[in-house]
């Protein structure tokens, strides 16, 4: 019985994993094909994977120009989704997300402060990421402390997070407005959650950091599974819950910091993706972690496709930030989760 159930689970996982990989690739191709000059998705696919019989120079150029943004979007979605899953597990709170719990806003505030007070240092991405990391970690600690004051329930944690997130997102906007006068770059472009600003040479570092974080998270699979059922439960099986929490918060903060320092704030991907993943393959992190990453990448790509379409049809000067669209998708989902939770 247990054997057959486990085998079904495993098979489901493999099926969903392949389907979602296909979906991600498809969205990736469509994402690149959309733009002022529309390119046939099939041509894009052929060019991307070097299958084109007679490559046209125009297509190759356009694809390589648009590739960076598409990659940045994939990495954003994947990183935030993984951060969300880790946060939901280490707080044992299904409402956790780097944005809702204030990590993104504090990271952004720290980055803006860094640019204002040490502009010469902030030229280097490493420093920006380090500063953003400290910001994200402080945001997490602040939310955790506030929620403990409020009794430590699921909802109190969300409310504490919303308080922290609102305060620091307001603060970061003011600071970014000041930064804008220093950098002479349009305010809306700077780290407000748009993947258009990522440069091609920045992709490798983003990828490396995400890969390292993913690898570290994969090593945590068993401790995280045991941790789900309580501190003393994990302890009985030989895992130290305190360290799981520290390492989890560290990785989630790092992932958030990377995205904030390249892209800015993109909310709710980290909330929604783990829920979809658990719905599809259950809560075992061995299955839910890869699925969460793929779902996150797909959501981000889909949202960015919407961003592209809106800006094409409205024809305004700058594009909408990606974070706006993910909020519109994610916030109703949060509302649904809160209502469900309060009813129980």
């Amino acid at each position: 019985m247990a054997i057959s159930i486990y085998e079904t689970k495993l098979r489901n996982f493999l099926i969903f994993f392949s389907l979602l990989t296909l979906l991600t690739v498809a969205l990736f191709v469509v994402h690149i094909s959309i733009g002022p000059a529309m390119i046939d998705p099939i041509l894009v696919f052929q060019t991307l994977f070097g299958l084109s019989p007679n490559p046209q120079k125009v297509v190759v150029n356009v694809v390589s120009l648009r590739l960076t943004r598409a990659l940045a979007t994939v990495l954003t979605g994947a990183a935030l989704a993984l951060a969300g899953l880790l946060m939901q597990t280490i707080t044992r709170n299904p409402l956790a997300d780097p944005y809702i719990f204030g990590l993104s806003s504090t990271a952004l505030t720290f980055v803006a402060l860094g640019v204002i007070f040490a502009p010469s240092l902030m030229v280097y991405r490493h420093y920006i990421i380090a500063v953003a990391f400290l910001g994200a970690l402080s945001g997490y600690i602040l939310t955790a402390l506030l929620s403990r004051l409020g009794g430590g329930s699921d909802i109190s944690m969300v409310l504490a997070g919303i308080a922290v997130a609102s305060l620091f997102s307001g603060l970061s906007h003011v600071l970014l407005y000041i930064v804008q006068s220093m950098l002479r770059s349009p305010y809306v472009y700077f780290l407000l959650g748009s993947t258009t600003t990522v440069l091609q040479r920045e992709i490798p570092l983003m990828t490396e950091l995400l890969a390292v974080s993913t690898f570290a998270s994969l090593l945590l699979i068993k401790p995280l599974n045991a941790y789900l059922y309580g501190d003393s439960y994990a302890k009985q099986l030989g895992f130290e819950p305190k360290y799981i929490r520290y390492v989890g918060a560290f990785i989630a903060s790092l992932l958030t910091a990377v995205i904030v320092s390249y892209v800015g704030i993109v909310g709710f991907v980290g909330l929604v993706a783990p829920h979809i993943a658990r719905f599809l393959v259950g809560s075992n992190h061995l299955f839910s972690m890869p699925i969460t990453i793929l779902v996150g990448a797909s959501i981000a790509l889909a949202a960015d496709i919407i961003v592209k379409l809106i800006s094409m049809y409205v024809g305004a000067i700058a594009e909408l930030p990606l974070g706006v669209v993910t909020s519109i998708i994610g916030a109703p989902f949060l509302a649904y989760l809160i209502i469900k939770r309060l009813r129980e």
Binding site: I5, R92, P94, L228, S232, Q236, G238, F239, S283, L286
Partner: protein, 264 residues
């Protein structure tokens, strides 16, 4: 198989929860830990499971100091069933039960072995939860949930099985069933089971050895006939009891509050 608890003292923020607790248990013994609320029953179990560290004293299993056993190794020796686990992230019964096999899995093997799943199947059948394996933990009834919790501990195949209030929230049938099961497993596998239990009557039905706690101190420990004495129980609980001899068992029946039934 021998468990020795020697002068264990536990403090929570300098408040003593357990003082100088000592007793011994042998393989195959069903030990009941009784005592009023806050007497230190849970603390005693948590100390044995190394969830809390004693300030003084030591716990030995077959001569090995439990605190010096590597954590993962300890998972094969001791399992503690607490009255509840966190269920805030939805997960299925099987997912939960699979975690109980982690002490037996290699550090970097992520999938369960064939034996892991076989053990789960055998225990699930024994506890009549096979049909629940695919269900979500937060959808179970109290009785089903309690059986799943106990199944988890048995799947861990411990040498010392600790149960904290395994019969709370259960109806009479399941209470007896849980205790029968604990006794059966204890005898069959020659392990030691220690059950912290409020229900003195239930303890008197099943225990081979009884530990009576009051205010963090072991007042009496030993065979049921040594502990289940009217004046002792009445002193500790402030409840008038009657002790009936049914078969070879001394059954404790609470009758009324002392001081003429007036609540203190």
């Amino acid at each position: 198989m021998k468990l020795v608890i020697d002068g264990v003292e536990v403090y929570y923020n300098s408040i003593p929860a357990l003082r100088g607790a000592s007793f011994e248990a042998q393989g195959g013994e069903v030990v009941a830990v009784i005592g009023p609320n806050g007497a230190g029953k849970t603390t005693l179990l948590r100390a044995i499971a190394s969830i809390v560290k004693p300030l003084r004293g030591a716990i030995y299993i077959d001569g090995r100091l439990v605190n010096s056993v590597p954590p993962k190794e300890r998972g094969k020796l001791i399992a503690l069933v607490e009255p509840s686990i966190s269920r805030s992230i939805p997960s299925s019964v099987l997912e939960f039960l699979l975690t109980a096999r982690y002490p037996y899995s290699k550090l970097y093997s992520f999938t369960p072995s064939k034996r892991d799943l076989e053990v789960i199947d055998i225990i699930a059948k024994k506890l009549n939860i096979t049909h629940l394996l695919n269900r979500r933990l937060d959808e179970l009834s109290s009785g089903e949930f309690q059986r799943v919790l106990i199944a988890r501990a048995l799947i861990q195949e411990p040498r010392v099985l600790l149960l904290d209030e395994p019969t709370a929230f259960l109806d009479i049938k399941y209470r007896l069933e849980v205790m029968e099961l604990v006794r059966y497993v204890t005898k069959e596998q020659r392990i030691i089971s220690i059950t912290a239990i409020h229900d003195v009557y239930l303890a008197s039905l099943y225990a081979d050895k009884v530990v009576l706690l009051s205010n963090g101190v072991i007042v009496a420990a030993g065979k049921p006939e040594d502990v289940f004495r009217e004046e002792l129980i009445e002193n500790v609980y402030g409840v008038k009891v009657q002790i009936l001899n049914i078969g070879d068992r001394r059954i404790v029946i609470p009758i009324q509050l002392l001081n003429n039934g007036q609540p203190t």
